[in-house]
Assembly symmetry: D2
Homo-oligomer: 241 residues x 4
């Protein structure tokens, strides 16, 4: 059983009727419902909850955290960001979606500006699989399309991904590295581009398939507990004579 | 159910009593027995069988192929090498062990000489985990030791691995990239260093754990069937005016 | 002084008047002329010369080899391919252009099919810089365009590049990893996509800039001469007791 | 001309006579003197200077910044760290030495804990070249040795390097990824392990050779000025109907 927490800042849906109509249960609700399956235990958490819904107790029971944020990045407390960061390094999987590229947690993990080009003009997006051996691409065709989406264009200021799974083509002439994996400490991080709040992207079955695949990929293994700091020699050393 | 075929040239064990005493069922038998578990269906194949035991029918039923060879690399027919190569690109996992670094199939997949330094002098080997987030390191400690092994030393003439999971320390002063992953086409390849025929390495539980983990990692997903060649446009193009 | 040899199969230009009109000096002549600069010593070689113009003597004086081929890949002798392969592993730089993706030397170095989608329909191509820190991108803008080119589309069946410098957008809806670097042994390899024979691509100043940058990047350093094979211990070992 | 600034916290040398005897000009002085050559313009800067010697004016004239710190990481102001971070993303090269693994700037750029195992016991260190094609390995042998050094051992909690150039063997039984390259934004970062303050490591000609090579590798190119933010389409889009 993989325990998933879907986190959403959950603001747009409460102040914009059009967005609320697309996501009546919130973006978190749409994702949680859309990836529901045997073997996953899914809960949601939102910004307005105590500790943003990400208490130590909740994170103790979270194998993979999914993150959606946009207009409220700065309302996320640094303490919670540091807590999530620590959990990732200890093994928790993290899936960052779309505008989460500018979240505090993603920028902290990447070490770069995470800036990009963008345009809200309803571009067609076509997402190509460029690493067909990757488990996150399981069950997809050679590409899938989203009829209208916000455009994100290169240069995307991120570290070169450990693995590049998807590249997007946009109608308006841009490309984007849309599916990027990273190992950070004992944890795995996946960035996935689509999901602007004004489009029904999280009802798209291919998008949900990718998120579901990523959950399985990012789930921690019972693993190596690293120790750090002063270490006794494992072999005899001559040292200073 | 993951279907595994353990391939071994199976020569040393038939001509050297000391090696036969270590591996009475052959190296393939030791590995097949050592990784046996629910969820794996394991068979073996050897050089002296028709088509080296790697008929189209056998490969049709193989998700992951494990390869051990040393003195008989040149006895492996190019046709079978090409067949295995084609299967890897179509999605079959391949785990290449120890002296398999000089096998035809590994050199063909890597594109380099795959040469290295070596010494048969019973060095102690200590294998360190350098990517604790990797599923192939699942369940291991921070390192594991092999009391006596053949030394392999850098420079190891391979492409930079997609992911470097293990680095070996040798008593005699060398280091080695001992666990290396690669995606090739739809398939996954893992090179794992230990396993000289004169040592009981494939009875070591950590070594078997790594091979078992690698089988799970390398198993193909139901996946993207790529098409290649001439392609109609997906969008209108103006082309030559 | 970097010594460059521009190799071209030089067939299209001799049998097709339209192509000859674009490249009156041959594709090799256009490239050699286009990248001429202080600090480079440039010669050309073609398929119809003895040993395809790639004698040991010529390669002794070649720091970086540029390769263009298309319809005559199979006319290149395996001996010469093996010779070039050996030189790359020993440190010679290799720049493979466009349809050279299917050349024997590139396939041998990559270990994969190197297959892709293609279309000769005059698509507009826009080449985006995705690694602005890379020396091969020096002096370029954020992207550059080629008004009409042959389309190459993903999935491009290559190993994940060590560094991905460019991604192409095509008018007809595809994307492509158009600038890919690899280290192989002591040598460096760069694949660069543009350059179909029916277009004046090698007269484009940005394309020439990239090739010139790649020559500087790929030039060998006075470097580490690796040795391989049996090695004496550098430290005392206890070995077998 | 490449303009280099060697930064050192410069504390140990002022409070410890033994260290002062090894580095009478400070560690910064030893490095600046040791890599002096035609084509490099070198200055130094230290913690106790105004703005730690890293004013906007100094950074305007810095192509590559070399960083040594150990006991005073927390005395470096966040403002200066952010300034240096911004400069790296805009193209300034950064070379982080030894205990700089725990500096604020390195941790911020890496996004991980950067923790490791360590021991001050005078281990012999042998640094192996594992990427002989890399310009940072130019002119070295297959390995070089440091008679006594502080041990750093895996797991080193960093992102997988873009390129792994060196691996260290330690007498006491550990290994370490000792030469790691990263692209971050328009800038290049190199981490190089050796250099504990109580050893004359920065008088070692191989160590100085590596630092000098890294300066050349990390120097910025006249390059792509990326723009970010809202972007007009480059092609007609149909958008919302």
């Amino acid at each position: 059983m993989i325990r998933v927490t879907v986190w959403n800042e959950f603001e747009h849906e409460q102040v914009n009727e059009q967005i609320a109509a697309i996501y009546p249960e919130g973006i978190h609700g749409a994702i949680a419902g859309g990836i529901a399956q045997d073997g996953l235990s899914i809960r949601t958490a939102t910004l307005d909850q105590p500790e943003h819904g990400l208490t130590e107790a909740v994170l103790d029971e979270t194998d993979v955290l999914i993150w959606w944020g946009h207009r409220a990045h700065n309302k996320v407390s640094d303490d919670i960001v540091n807590r999530v960061h620590d959990r990732v390094l200890k093994g928790m999987g993290l899936i960052v979606l779309h505008s989460g590229h500018f979240s505090k947690i993603f920028k902290k993990l990447m070490g770069t500006s995470c800036d990009l080009k963008w345009r809200e003009a309803g571009d067609k997006e076509r997402i190509w699989v460029v690493d067909p051996a990757h488990p996150i691409a399981e069950g997809l065709g050679q590409y899938f399309e989203i009829e209208h989406e916000e455009m994100y264009g290169e240069h995307f200021d991120i570290p070169a991904p450990d693995e590049l799974v998807f590249i997007s083509w946009f109608e308006g002439g841009e490309v984007f590295r849309s599916g990027c994996t990273y190992h950070r400490g004992n944890g795995k991080v996946f960035y996935f581009r689509p999901g602007h709040e004004t489009y029904p992207t999280y009802h798209n079955k291919d998008v949900l398939r990718v998120i579901s695949n990523a959950v399985h990929w990012a789930a921690p293994r019972h693993g190596v507990r690293q120790t750090y700091g002063n270490a006794k020699p494992l072999e005899p050393i001559k040292g200073h004579q």
